[in-house]
Every structure is written in C-alpha cells, then in structure tokens.
C-alpha cells in the first residue's frame, strides 16, 4: 500500500458552476477514509477559500491534496496576476473583487483569514505577474 494518497485537480477560472468541486472531492475522500468530521470540515473550509480565490482572482489553477495518516497537505497553485502585498491581502476585509463577483456573495475579504484560522499551517508564496501558491497543512486531531 502507498504511504499516502495523492489527488490532483484542474480548477477552471471564472467558472462558478464548477467552483468548489476539487474541495468537494477531497472532502468525500477524507470522509471515506474515516477522518473525523471536525477535521474534514476544517480542511474543506480552508481549501475551498483557496480554490475559489483561483477561480475569481487567478483565472484558475491546479490543486493537489496529499493525505497522510496524521495530516493532509493541500496546495493551490496558479499562474495568475499574483499578490503584490501579502500582508495587506491577509487583512480581514481587504478585497479587490469586482462588482460582478461581489454580487455572487464573494469579496468580503475573509477568504485568506479563514484559511489562516482553519488550517494549522498556511503558507502563501506569490510573485506579481508569475502566480501564487498556497500551501495548507491540517493535522488530524487525536
């Protein structure tokens, strides 16, 4: 048996009908593996925020999930416009979302704060004009 489960998804930009499907799939997988509901929920919330950010802000990207016995590592990598000031972007309420996207309920500027709140480790690497990579580590509770 492999030492861990590796999953990969392509996340389509600006598609709000498919948005969330990578996270739905990871959630189903974790649930099937018997991970505790509270832990599944924390992973789902933080991954969804990263997935939807790629849909809205980065014209899509790639998501991966590596599930180990004691933790899951999620990455969300895009080749979008990047984030100039990560510290500012992390501030609750900061958002560059357009009016169109706001009319769908996005743009509270709470996505990155939610990731930080729900993941045990949240690393954001970004270069303007090159892209953004978010890495989320969630340890399963005992």
């Amino acid at each position: 048996m492999a030492d861990h489960v590796h999953l990969e998804y392509v996340v389509e930009g600006d598609n709000f009908v498919s948005a969330g499907s990578a996270t739905e799939s990871v959630k189903a997988c974790l649930k099937g593996m018997g991970v505790k509901p509270e832990d599944v929920r924390r992973v789902a919330i933080s991954m969804y925020e990263g997935e939807i950010n790629m849909v809205i802000h980065a014209n899509g990207g790639k998501a991966t999930a590596d599930i180990y016995m004691d933790k899951v590592v999620i990455t969300l990598a895009d080749t979008g416009k990047g984030i100039a000031d990560i510290e500012l972007a992390m501030k609750p309420g900061y958002s560059t979302a357009t009016d169109d996207v706001r009319s769908l309920g996005f743009g509270a500027g709470m996505g990155l704060p939610n990731m930080k709140k729900y993941a045990d480790e949240c690393l954001i690497e970004s270069t303007v004009g090159v892209g953004t990579k978010v890495t989320l580590v969630t340890k399963f509770s005992a």
Binding site: P37, R41, I52, A108, G109, N114
Partner: protein
C-alpha cells in the same frame, strides 16, 4: 429541532428535502459567503437571501443543516439540482431574515 419542524414553524416552501430528520443545532445569518464559511457552525440553519449556485458548495462544505432562503427568494437555475446531488436541505420562507430568526427564538427552539 429537526429541519422538518423548522420548515413548519416558518411555513416554508420545500426547495429540496434531502433529509428533513436532520437536527438543527444552531443558526447563522448572512449573505457574504466567506463570512458564512468562517462563522456558520456545523449543523446550523443558514438564513440568507443569496440564491446562486455557490450557496450549495458553501452549505455542503461547512456542514450546514439547512439553507433557509428568506423574503420568498427563489433559487437560481441549477441550485435545486445541485442540492439534490449533494444532499443539501433547502427551504424558502416569505419572512425576512430578522422575523424568521425571531420566530425561531420566540418559540424557544434553538
């Protein structure tokens, strides 16, 4: 209280009955999806007027027990089918969000 009891209390229309025996532990009100994601507790009734397809992903991923569409809001196309696929309870009431919550609290149910 069950979703069934909540639907009756609010004289709500059934949009999707995935499992109305599910227990509603608490509630959350709001339309901005990241607030809901970050703050709605598991097994809550989510009171909103937001009706686009993204409410399904949010409710499902945050383990919301039932979406309560207020002000007679009609779900947008695709929402009901998605709710069926994902097993999400959705009801719709003519009450505004404040009145709906007031009713639930007055009847001492949450």
């Amino acid at each position: 209280m069950t979703v069934q009891a909540l639907a009756e209390m609010l004289s709500a229309k059934i949009i999707n009955n995935a499992d109305f025996t599910r227990q509603v532990a608490t509630g959350y009100a709001g339309d901005l999806l990241s607030f809901v994601m970050g703050k709605a507790p598991a097994d809550s009734a989510w009171f909103t007027v937001m009706t686009n397809i993204n409410i399904c992903a949010v409710a499902h991923l945050a383990d919301v027990a039932v979406i309560v569409l207020c002000e007679d809001s009609e779900p947008m196309p695709g929402v009901t089918d998605r709710a069926k696929e994902q097993g999400i309870n959705i009801i719709s009431t003519s009450l505004d969000i404040f009145s709906a919550i007031k009713k639930v609290l007055n009847e001492g149910q949450i």
